[in-house]
């Protein structure tokens, strides 16, 4: 009996009896002037049983009883198993790639084959559902008797590189669905490696018991053995730096761990696409974590995707990590000097601040030597030549000792240049008039104002307290990472009378601002209150000078809002990842992400940003524009597998039993599923027939008796 509680409905048998009695007792009052013609002797038998009523009552009781039994879903023993309702859940997490003891097929393939057997063995009346689940529900057929669609869904099942985040939720949902169906032979078959982390929150409590109570659902967690050989897991592999210039080098740091009980000889290989670049072998003790570093020089300006792979072991799925390297363009710096600084000819290097600055930026170029591989180039021009320069060609414009511009439009050009992502570096010298400087550059200073020139009696040291700065640009300098700062002094500088929206990045020990950063639109403006002249500061002679200059230029070259994190092109399978694309991508309705699988994602019309999601296969993916006519530089995205799938912490039989509220036989190997169902059948068709007959009898009886009544009346 599938619904024993339905037998309570038999209490309803009292209803027709009560109605019958009420009908007999409740008399309709009727005024009758001819009462004297009613014979009291006849009336004495008014409450005598009427056979018609009794028959009607019995038929109604029979009807109700059959209906209740029908609702209770009576069953009877049978020679064969009756119709089955089975929910099949197949885990497609990465851990299902483990090999079975035969060493040839993976656990996923084995389970998929077993499910196919079950589906192909469906009989008439059977109703199966199939759900492919991992970090997401990838396929769900719902309960159906259509064997073809189920076979197709099972055949198309694939294994992901993600985890099994949704496995337990899917088990719950399937139990709820089965609970609502209430069929005779119901079972939930969970084909998984039953990793404990997928049941982490529930494995020590009977979380599924409420869903199983009062039902005949048989939950079965299929537990098949897997090979348990030596295995090393690639934990991480990443190039540092992840953005580099052509001709520069970068190193990949690969971290891997031997999770097995025995020592392993592991070979780490670095692949660029399919070609092996470097390989290294090492012995890794049990439980040991190793970091291997491999260097590579990047000659091509094209972005590349890389794979760091371990040699084959018992579980190959966790051997690979993907990473990308993005190539940076050569930075072009325009150094504009004031009238006091003539542009040097050839290899002549002066000792002015402008010369020292140019030398710090690119000493090889400053000395007039051939420099083909430099990633930064300086173009030095005089103040009057600024008008003839196309600012958009330069990543940074340095105005050294410039207090006025050739034309008013030039300031507007500089402002627009900065707002569109360019970097502007303003360095006044002692000869500049601060009022004139403020007036000229008011539009780009955003409230910052220079005051009068200060010459302290003793040169001012730098304030090394990081708390006093609101821009962390030169924190490394203050921490001494680039060299000591104790010998850096400033003897002459302009007072910053008004900071406006500028953020101080360097201060004297007295609290006077030496360097401030202003964000203007997408770009930055850096204002220095002193020049790099050796009469004004000892910085050019100090060790950190070059680092300071490059840090400044590095900041000014990166437009505001662009992610500078080294992991910007890396994501985990199943995660959401917001990828900032070059502006060339703008105007495309979607982008194509091509790798082990192909995806297409919508891109907002006005932004070159795309959100990558629902990618569950690890690999290096090329992000390309959909338009074949548009030439843009492709981006690479490294999608890496889920972590934590390498461990083999599997739910025990006792834990699974406890999860199901102490129910027995919940953990079975896949070859013992055949004897799962009881050989019983429902009495549904017979009860339905009986119900129909009783209903017909009741209807016919009513019609017949009613007709008789009418005939009787018409004879008066």
């Amino acid at each position: 009996m599938l619904y024993p509680m339905m037998l309570l409905g038999l209490l309803g048998l009292g209803i027709p009896v009560v109605i019958h009695l009420i009908n007999r007792r409740r008399m309709k009052p009727q005024v009758l002037a001819t009462l004297r013609f009613l014979d009291p002797q006849d009336v004495t038998n008014a409450f005598a049983p009427v056979p018609r009523d009794w028959i009607q009552l019995l038929l109604r009781l029979l009807l109700l009883s059959i209906f209740v039994l029908l609702m209770a879903r009576l069953t009877k023993p049978s020679a064969e198993v009756g119709p089955r309702t089975v929910a099949l859940v197949l885990d497609n997490s990465m851990s299902m790639r483990r090999f079975c003891p035969d060493g040839k097929t993976t656990l996923f393939e084995s389970h998929r084959g077993r499910i196919l057997q079950l589906v192909r063995g469906m009989r008439t009346g059977d109703c199966f559902s199939f759900t492919l689940v991992g970090d997401n529900v990838f396929a769900s057929t719902g309960f159906t008797s259509d064997r073809t669609s189920l076979e197709q869904a099972v055949t198309n099942a694939w294994v992901s590189d993600g985890g099994g985040r949704c496995l337990y939720t899917t088990v719950e949902e399937n139990l709820r669905e089965l609970r609502s169906r209430r069929a005779l032979n119901m079972a939930l078959l969970v084909f998984s490696d039953q990793q404990a982390q997928n049941y982490r929150a529930q494995f020590d409590q009977p979380a599924l018991a409420p869903l199983l109570d009062g039902t005949s659902i048989q939950p079965v967690f299929v537990l098949d053995p897997v090979t348990n050989g030596a295995n090393a897991e690639m934990c991480s592999a990443e190039f540092q730096p992840a953005r580099t210039y052509p001709g520069s080098g970068s190193k990949v740091s690969a971290t891997f761990q031997n999770g097995s009980d025995t020592q392993m000889a592991v070979t780490v290989s670095l692949y660029n696409g399919l070609s092996l670049v470097e390989s290294r072998a090492c012995n890794v003790a049990s439980g040991e974590t190793v970091q291997a570093e491999m260097r590579n020089i990047f000659d091509s300006p094209v972005d590349t995707a890389w794979k760091v792979s371990l040699s084959e072991d018992a579980f190959n799925a966790d051997n690979d990590q993907y990473t990308t390297v993005r190539m940076l363009k050569t930075r072009e710096v325009l150094l504009v000097t004031g009238p006091r600084y003539p542009v040097p000819e050839g290899a002549v290097i002066g000792d002015t601040g402008a010369d020292l600055l140019a030398c710090a930026i690119n000493p090889v170029q400053a000395m007039g030597l051939e420099d083909s591989g430099a990633n930064i180039r300086v173009t030095r021009v005089g103040f009057s030549a600024l008008e003839r320069k196309a600012l958009s060609l330069y990543t940074t414009v340095i105005l050294y000792g410039v207090q006025e511009l050739p034309s008013a439009e030039m300031v507007q050009d500089l402002e627009m240049y900065a707002r569109n992502g360019g970097g502007l570096y303003l360095i006044p010298d002692a000869s500049n008039n601060p009022s004139l400087f403020n007036e000229t550059f008011a539009k780009v200073l955003d409230g910052f104002r220079l005051g009068g020139l200060r010459e302290p009696k003793s040169p001012a040291a730098l304030d090394t307290r990081e708390k006093s700065l609101t821009d962390p640009l030169l924190v490394s300098l203050l921490r001494g990472e680039w060299g000591t700062v104790n010998d850096i002094f400033v003897s002459r500088y302009f007072d910053a009378t008004q900071l406006g929206k500028a953020r101080p990045a360097l201060k004297t020990a007295d609290g006077d601002t030496l360097l401030a950063m202003v964000t203007l639109g997408k770009g930055h403006v850096c204002v220095q209150t002193h020049s790099w002249s050796i009469q004004e500061t000892t910085m050019p002679r100090a060790l950190p000078f070059v680092s300071v200059v490059h840090a400044l230029l590095g900041r000014l070259a990166v437009p505001e809002g662009e992610v500078s994190d080294g992991r910007m092109d890396h994501m985990r399978v199943g995660d959401y990842h917001r990828l900032v694309l070059p502006l060339d991508f703008r105007g495309s309705s979607n982008v194509v992400v091509q790798g082990p699988r192909r995806y297409a994602f919508d891109m907002p019309a006005d932004a070159a940003v795309v959100t990558l999601k629902d990618m569950f296969v690890a690999g290096a993916y090329r992000v390309a524009h959909t338009s074949p006519t548009k030439v843009v530089k492709d981006r690479w995205v490294a999608v890496n597998r889920a972590q934590g799938e390498s461990g083999q912490v599997v739910m025990s039989t006792e834990q699974l039993s406890k999860l199901c509220g102490g129910k027995g036989n919940v953990a079975l190997p896949s070859d013992r599923l055949d004897g799962l169902f009881q050989p019983r059948r429902e009495l549904f068709p017979w009860l339905l027939l009986l119900l129909f007959l009783a209903l017909t009898a009741e209807t016919l009886g009513s019609v017949f008796l009613r007709r008789k009544k009418v005939t009787h009346g018409s004879t008066i």
Binding site: M27, Q30, L32, L38, H712
Partner: protein, 304 residues
């Protein structure tokens, strides 16, 4: 002829129209105060010769038939019929048994009886005769002497619009007590359901007939009383006595209908013997057909 007179009851004008031209004549000699077309038992001055009688002192000289005197040498006077108007008495039962709620869409017995009474009164007044009304409940509720004229008709209608009366059970006894109020040699319409004891009613009607009244009994019954259409267990209550009786209709119907038929037969038999017109009426009857055919049948019987 108007459908409604004054502010009393209203009668379907088609009913009055159907009765127009149908003369109400008594089968007996009447006695009236005013000249009209009805034959009376008295001698009068109409052109209708009856017989001769010997001249008596005080007779008018002009009434002597001189031709007979010439043949017989004795004085005889000619006697002619007298024609007078007719007094019609309408005795309406207004007891509670007449007020039983009717089946849906049908008039109650009292409404039907009032309509019949009103129609007859209109008919009588319109042929220049006098109509009187007596409403009888458990006592004589209203007694309006027979008179002529439209004002009198309006008064009758007023009373018929809301006929007074409660109780009941002694209609026969009550109308017997009317005695001299129902004058001799007239027409009497007894309109009742005649469901009480019949003997007092018989007695009263016999007395009326003995006083040379042309009596008509209009028995008004409810359709439910005649057909007894009840099916479910029912508690029957008598409207006048309040007596209750719970019965399964299907069990008692046959016997009930048999008794009712016996009752009707008895009534009909009595009326036939007593030369009383008996008209059974049910509240689903078409009055236009029923009354017109009845009065025409009376006329034909008189002249046939």
């Amino acid at each position: 002829m108007s459908a409604a007179v004054s502010s009393g009851m209203k009668i379907d004008p088609r009913l009055l129209q159907s009765l127009k031209g149908v003369h109400l004549r008594s089968r007996m000699l009447v006695r009236g105060m005013y000249n009209n077309r009805h034959r009376t038992s008295d001698f009068g001055s109409s052109t209708e010769f009856i017989d001769h009688r010997e001249y008596q002192k005080g007779d008018a000289i002009r009434s002597i038939d001189w031709r007979v005197f010439a043949r017989t040498d004795r004085h005889y006077v000619k006697r002619h019929e007298m024609e007078a108007n007719m007094r019609v008495h309408l005795l309406l039962d207004t007891s509670d048994s007449m007020r039983v709620p009717p089946p849906d869409g049908l008039p109650s017995k009292l409404e039907l009886a009032a309509a019949i009474t009103g129609a007859i009164a209109t008919m009588v007044i319109s042929q220049q005769d006098a109509a009187g009304l007596c409403l009888v409940g458990d006592k004589i509720e209203e007694r309006i002497p027979a008179r002529q004229g439209m004002n009198h008709l309006a008064q009758l209608f007023q009373h018929l619009g809301a006929p007074r009366g409660t109780g009941g059970g002694a209609f026969g006894t009550q109308i017997a007590h009317l005695g001299g109020h129902v004058q001799a040699r007239g027409m009497v319409f007894v309109i009742t359901d005649a469901l009480d004891e019949l003997e007092p009613l018989y007695k009263a009607m016999r007395n009326m007939v003995a006083r040379h009244n042309d009596v008509t009994l209009l028995q008004v019954l409810d359709l439910a009383e005649v057909e007894f259409p009840f099916t479910r267990m029912t508690e029957f209550r008598h409207p006048e006595t309040g007596a209750r009786l719970a019965a399964n209709p299907s069990d008692v119907r046959d016997r009930y209908l048999q008794r009712l038929r016996e009752h009707q037969s008895s009534l009909e038999s009595f009326c036939r013997k007593a030369r009383i017109d008996y008209v059974p009426v049910q509240n689903n009857a078409d009055l236009m057909v029923l009354l017109r055919s009845h009065f025409l049948r009376r006329l034909m019987r008189r002249f046939g």
